[in-house]
Symmetry: C2
């Protein structure tokens, strides 16, 4: 069976060698006579998996010693609440930049916890761009500034990150590990694994250690970042198989040459798909403004609903998966995360060209 | 490679046919050209998996239409907080029966949320027994009565459940699906999957629908049971692979003849191990009183530390895994969940007899 051209927005494509490795050892992990899923989370074999995932991520992202890596459950959506529960204390104001649906959801959860302020927003333009640094207006007594580094639904992405005089918190669910970043610039980064890191079921949090001192007492244990930091994310049973898959994906990124090499390939891949859009004379209309384009999620519309439907149907027949836009915005979206091969992007661009020639 | 005799307390043994099935389709799920991990959680293929897990559990446990099945993340430990956050309103009192470490942890989290009352406890006897129904003293204005149906660490288990005039909430993490129960007797049941249901990473909640009407507004979205009930547990990205494994385990339980057949085998398995204890003339001293013995976790001590160490070392050499007692209590523990074969229990009992003859 041929592998599908998988453009799913998450859960999404995983590297084939990772799946093959997982398959080969699924019944017998390292001669234990057990599946990795059957190992105790307190066993030395699982501990090695757990720590390898953590250490590899530290190496790959160049995470400084000031920061710790935590593994949680609940998805990025639970982080929308955990960030304010841990850091939005009375008298402080949670600052949010709105760049899409996920930022809005993050803000909505923060409002349940404390005071908030919209520091910048492109909502009035239907989230077609990332606000300029100079348009970010922080409130007094800001607890933090929260941004969404990549907007999975609208297809925009921060090129660079603002240097602000408050702690910067980023939802990097859909572009973590896709490009080199300076982790030291962030107080806290979170990401659901199901785009660039592995399967769904584990959430990665990278946190600057001094933030832990600010956490109020009496939070529910499982919602207190200190629980994870003090136990090496082993306070209760972690999602062991998801963390195992994460460790394999990180091993694969290393074998591919690290984040720098992945970033170069991501640029190449995105360039191929955007070229098909730009060469289409408006047949494929990109949602995002040029300078805000995402390298991860390419969003575009066709001239009308009928053509969109036809495009998606033909694409499906040809083995392209996941090209429908998010149900909240419609149109088309190609998610081209780390594990999507260059070849899939070439095939998509070729199909787009061909379709356009026939229907423009 | 021979399969280990896996007596882990959780994550724990999975049925071999389930692992083989997962392995065989890991790279190509139902001719999609994708792994089940690579499917969108909004795809029709994943939807079928998700609903099959839900429907099978309903059938197997005979769950009445008054109740719904939800899939969450965060483990049973997050349920310790979610239960009081959702149901312990002001003026009400959360009632807890203490039968072990997990009940204590549940109570500790409830105390952070509201008022609590210990309705019964066997703590004074180091949790060697389950309190009698007549010793359960409910408070005024009880919000619910919380029990731990099986005490994984101490090795005790409720044989039957009390008929109380308040909503009964049960942590069934370590014995769900091991025996026939009357779900209608419970307002809410929760269980981390990693003992009888699948790998870690998904938590099952069975909830009586009318309870949803009592949930306060303004809870964090991910901590509000209504979020899961209203979205068929698809509000955000669920742990798709863990739910897939759950569906396969449930299929296996059906193939084995359902819960009735599993229960009969569990009784047989436990009888074999307890017989080795009872025939040992006190060499193996059971922790639990006879009428409170767990069919899932058999706990016992040897005459001294040295013999315990020797026992565990020899056991390990012979391919027995996970027999050390929980780090908080020491001694030995054999967890014999649904997927542990009868043969493993026979092998353990034979080893126990042999060891005793040599060292008693
Ligand atoms: C940027 C971003 N944030 C948050 C989420 C929500 O993640 P989860 O489903 O893990 O809660 C998503 C999901 O696609 C996302 O793309
Ligand atoms: C009865 C019981 N409750 C709760 C827990 C905690 O479960 P989790 O690790 O999924 O949070 C366990 C774990 O072994 C358990 O046995
Ligand atoms: Mg998730
Ligand atoms: Mg978005
Ligand atoms: Mg769990
Ligand atoms: Mg216990």
């Amino acid at each position: 069976m041929k592998r599908a051209y998988n453009f799913n927005a998450g859960p999404s494509a995983l590297p084939l060698p990772v799946l093959e490795r997982a398959q080969s050892e699924l019944l017998n992990f390292q001669n234990t006579g057990m599946s990795v899923m059957e190992l105790s989370h307190r066993s030395k074999e699982y501990d090695a998996v757990h720590n390898s995932a953590k250490e590899r991520l530290k190496r790959l992202m160049n995470i400084p010693d000031t920061h710790d890596v935590l593994f949680l459950q609940g998805g990025a959506s639970l982080q929308f609440s955990m960030v304010p529960m841990n850091f939005l204390s009375k008298g402080k104001i949670g600052n949010y930049v709105l760049t899409g649906s996920w930022s809005e959801k993050a803000l909505k959860e923060a409002k349940k916890v404390g005071s908030t302020h919209i520091a910048a927003s492109s909502k009035e333009a239907n989230y077609t761009y990332i606000p300029k640094f100079e348009d970010i207006q922080l409130s007094e007594d800001a607890a933090y500034l929260h941004i969404t580094s990549n907007n999975t639904i609208f297809g925009t992405q921060w090129r660079e990150f603002p240097n602000v005089p408050v702690d910067l918190v980023a939802d990097m669910s859909s572009d973590i590990l896709s490009r080199e970043i300076n982790v030291g610039q962030f107080a806290l980064i979170y990401a659901g694994a199901q785009k660039n890191l592995g399967p769904s079921g584990v959430t990665v949090v990278i946190i600057r250690n001094d933030l832990l001192e600010r956490i109020p007492d009496n939070l529910p244990t499982m919602l207190d970042y200190r629980t994870y930091s003090q136990s090496n994310s082993l306070y209760n049973t972690p999602p062991t198989f998801a963390i195992y898959m994460l460790s394999l994906v990180l091993e694969w990124v290393e074998a591919e040459g690290g984040v720098k090499a992945i970033e170069a390939r991501n640029q190449e891949k995105a360039a191929i798909v955007y070229a098909a859009i730009d060469a289409s004379n408006g047949f494929y209309a990109p949602h995002a403004e040029k300078e805000s384009r995402s390298l991860m999620n390419v969003t575009f519309t066709l001239p009308n609903e009928e053509l969109t439907k036809k495009f998606l149907e033909e694409a499906k027949e040809k083995g392209f998966v996941g090209l429908a836009g998010h149900r909240s915005v419609g149109g088309c979206r190609a998610s081209i995360y780390n594990a999507v091969p260059l070849e899939a992007c070439e095939a998509l661009a070729a199909f787009m060209d061909d379709f356009r020639r026939r229907f423009a």
